[in-house]
Amino acid sequence: MKTLRPSINLGRVVESRLFVPVLALSVILLFDLVFVRGFFNLEMKDGHLYGSLIDILRNSAPTVVLAIGMTLVIATGGVDLSVGAIMAIAGSVACILIDPRIVGLNLQGNITAVVGDPTYSFAPIPVVILLSLLAAVACGLWNGLLVSFGRIQPMVATLILMIAGRGIAQLITNSIKIIIFNDSFAYIGNGFIVLPFSLFIVVALFVGAWLLTRRTAIGLFVESVGISFRASLYSGINEKMIKLFAYAFCGFCAGVAGLISVSSIRTSDANQIGLYTELDAILAVVIGGTLLGTGGRFSLLGSVIGGLVIQATQTSMYAIGVAASAITAVKAVMVISVILLYSQQVQDLVRKGAGRLGRKQAAA
């Protein structure tokens, strides 16, 4: 009897670092192919591409951006719970710089006359972006200082900003929701160059992060510090600076995510921007194969796919009519499946199963 022998490399495929994220994404897309009519349809309207796939890509942008930064932090053996709050802070800074009048900081002009003016911005948009990102990096540095020099547990250290950050964001805008009429700023989250503009930001950030970690020694040092900070210390690696860098970069990414979010909804709402996104970001990194808690080897691409998996799941659930409130249950199932897939015991089982299959086929 002639048999196929697909099991030869099964072990290697299972061990590949992108196995779980790619598998997860394939499962969801397969689900959509079967259950959601027209899911893969793409439409060209006014030079823009539309479709569920495009929606997923666009809506996943903040999560993916956060996940890229979170990957480095988790790889050093830490975690950053404050990214959602940092998004809110960056968003508030951007809004107040675009339109400070409403808060009473600069009330010389006639408010009603300029409300709705799509060209008005108090500070030039590049300055707005720069200062927002600086604020986010400062937040990241604060986390990094607490973790590396303060030797505080990452979870506790970043919890401080997670809780305090939204208060700070409220203070910045004096608890007022600022509506943004400026079209240039709104372009960040709403613009299109055939594909949504935010996608280009994501790609640029991914490529930048990849170059920064893999074309310098930073990636190696981050992994090394995560696996054994003492051995890294003895080898002359400045583990404190590496951790500081990771948190600062994570803060930067949170700032970018915050700008995308605020821009796409055109409102600063310190209580809503980035709410619970830290959990999505962490989940994306975990799906991507970077180990939470122990750190070490990381995969930026894995985290990006992880972010897509989360968004794809969410979009698919909405598409088949699952209530928004029930989405968390679906996420819970996803978390459990992913954790099981990564557990050593399950992997051993799979490997053994693959081996047995291989032997059976060899015998047949």
Binding site: R215, T216, A217, I218, L220, F221, E223, S224, I227, S228, R230, A231, S232, L233, Y234, S235, G236, I237, N238, G296, R297
Partner: protein, 506 residues
């Protein structure tokens, strides 16, 4: 061959492969009732794998295990325990902050009316330990006792919880003093008298002869043979372990005499009264290029502390350090690397290897650290450097991309050595570079140290084995109670050093 009347455990044709390594090749092993059976071999010979299979931590790819004449499949360490096979590892796996009694009886405390009867717990613990001739206060935390006592508590627990018939001791003596080792041997002999079979893994050949009845030799994953210890000449045993004879040791001695002619006259590094409060008393030390200086002393005598001060892990609280006549200001590993000082740390697992990284990455780490974040070594350069040292140090690894955790202890040590040699140091501090390493690799490392010295490198050599310090060092510094006591020239005899080390204890 297998006789259930005399043999309690019979392992036949055990075969096991790991990615890139054929760890065991059809190995047979039989353990008789009431014997102490030593298991010896170089690093990577397959001792650990064989033991892991016996204790259920790994499953064999093929082969059979019979216990008391019946075929068994050992599913897990817990299952092994329930079958009466208990293991005590080198690192004690108990809770140091619980009392001795709690450690012994945790999970099976005697109860009275539903709550734990603590006086009964303590009485029972005392009774168990008395059975091993150990009289200690069982209500004190386990961590307050020596490693030896902790190890014996671990043995006692193994006996209590599983009524063990087979006891596996994996390098139990590697961190024990001579006296403590004797104490452990007494317990082992007592257990043997009670009919318990003991598998004893060690790197110390003296101990093999002292305590074991039979010895099984493994080499490169294959069984060499099982022998009666009494009738086996030591030289034969070493030859069996290595597969070659050891005239190399003579070479090293000759090598040392030759290299001593190359010692420079100018000082390379000068320590002037440097010390660290609470860690190391102030000391003076001068190191010359081309010189190997050995540090001798007991565990905890301050050898490691001295090494760390010279390397700059800690900033000294007193005194000053001068290198090339210039005062040292930057006390940090990276400062040391820039000065050309390297340290192979004592605790290889915690401070040396980065387990999940590849051999290549482990080798280039320190060199990359000295170049900073942005002057990145290209992958091509990394491979070139890694391959050079893999060849030079004969590191046994399937490839430079193998995670270092898959290598045996000796090869891991060589990788750490390579990491530092790649930084082209002028002073190399080796803290216990040969601990837990087989005889052959030991000789390799000693020879390497001397050839490096000949090329002008200065070297500080730390080892618990006095013989080894004597063989390699041109000058010997003796430490005791975290202070430098005296210096000897390299041709001093070991008796003189031991007298100095022992003085305070008399």
């Amino acid at each position: 061959m297998a006789d259930p009347a005399t043999d309690i455990v019979v392992m036949e044709s055990i075969d096991k492969s790991f990615p890139g390594v054929h760890a065991l090749q059809k190995v047979n092993f039989a353990l008789a009732r009431g014997e102490i059976h030593a298991l010896v071999g170089e690093n990577g010979a397959g001792k650990s794998t064989l033991i892991k299979i016996l204790t259920g931590a790994e499953r064999p790819d093929s082969g059979t295990i019979a216990l008391d004449g019946a075929q068994v499949t050992i599913r897990s360490p817990l299952h092994a325990q329930s079958l009466g096979i208990s293991t005590v590892y080198q690192e004690v796996n108990l809770c140091p902050n619980l009392t001795v009694a709690e450690n012994l009886l945790i999970g099976r405390q005697p109860t009275k009316r539903g709550h734990v009867d603590w006086s009964a717990v303590n009485a029972r613990a005392r009774e168990i330990l008395r059975g091993l001739d150990i009289e200690i206060d069982v209500t004190r935390p386990l961590g307050s006792y020596s490693i030896a006592i902790q190890q014996m508590a671990a043995i006692a627990r193994a006996l209590v919880i599983s009524s063990a018939k087979v006891l596996v001791l994996d390098e139990p003596t590697s961190s024990l003093t001579v006296h403590e080792t004797q104490q452990l041997f007494r317990v082992m002999r007592k257990l043997k008298g009670e009919g318990i079979s003991i598998v004893f893994i060690t790197h110390f050949l003296d101990q093999v002869y002292e305590v074991s009845d039979r010895v099984t030799v493994l080499r490169n994953g294959a069984l060499v043979g099982t022998y009666e210890t009494v009738g086996l000449p030591r030289l034969t045993l070493i030859t069996l372990m290595l597969g070659r004879s050891l005239t190399e040791l003579d070479d090293i001695t000759r090598h040392k005499a030759e290299s001593s002619q190359h010692i420079g006259t100018d000082s390379l590094l000068e320590a002037d009264g440097i010390g660290l409060v609470g860690s190391m008393a102030p000391f003076d030390l001068v190191l010359h290029a081309g010189e190997v200086v050995g540090l001798a002393g007991l565990l905890g005598s301050g050898r490691t502390e001295m090494a760390q001060l010279l390397f700059g892990i800690d900033k000294p609280t007193t005194g000053s350090l001068t290198m090339d006549g210039k005062p040292v200001r930057k006390f940090s590993p990276i400062g040391s690397i820039e000065r050309g000082v390297a340290l192979c740390p004592e605790d290889r697992k915690a401070d040396g290897i980065v387990a999940d990284l590849t051999v290549r990455e482990n080798i280039i780490m320190a060199m990359q650290a000295s170049r900073g974040w942005f002057r990145h070594l290209s992958t091509g350069e990394q491979y070139r450097i890694a391959d050079t040292y893999i060849k030079l140090l004969k590191i046994a690894t399937p490839s430079a991309d193998q995670p270092i955790r898959n290598l045996s202890g000796g090869n891991q040590q060589k990788v750490i050595l390579a990491r530092w040699l790649a930084t082209k140091p002028r002073l190399l501090i080796l803290d216990e570079p040969t601990r837990g390493i087989d005889v052959g690799t030991k000789a390799d490392i000693q020879k390497l140290v001397l050839s490096l010295a000949e090329e002008g490198m200065s070297c500080v050599f730390i080892s618990s084995e006095l013989e080894e310090v004597l063989r390699t060092s041109h000058r010997i510094v003796v430490l005791r109670d975290r202070a430098k006591v005296t210096e000897f020239p390299g041709d001093v005899d070991d008796q003189a050093i031991m007298r100095v080390i022992a003085e305070s204890e008399a």
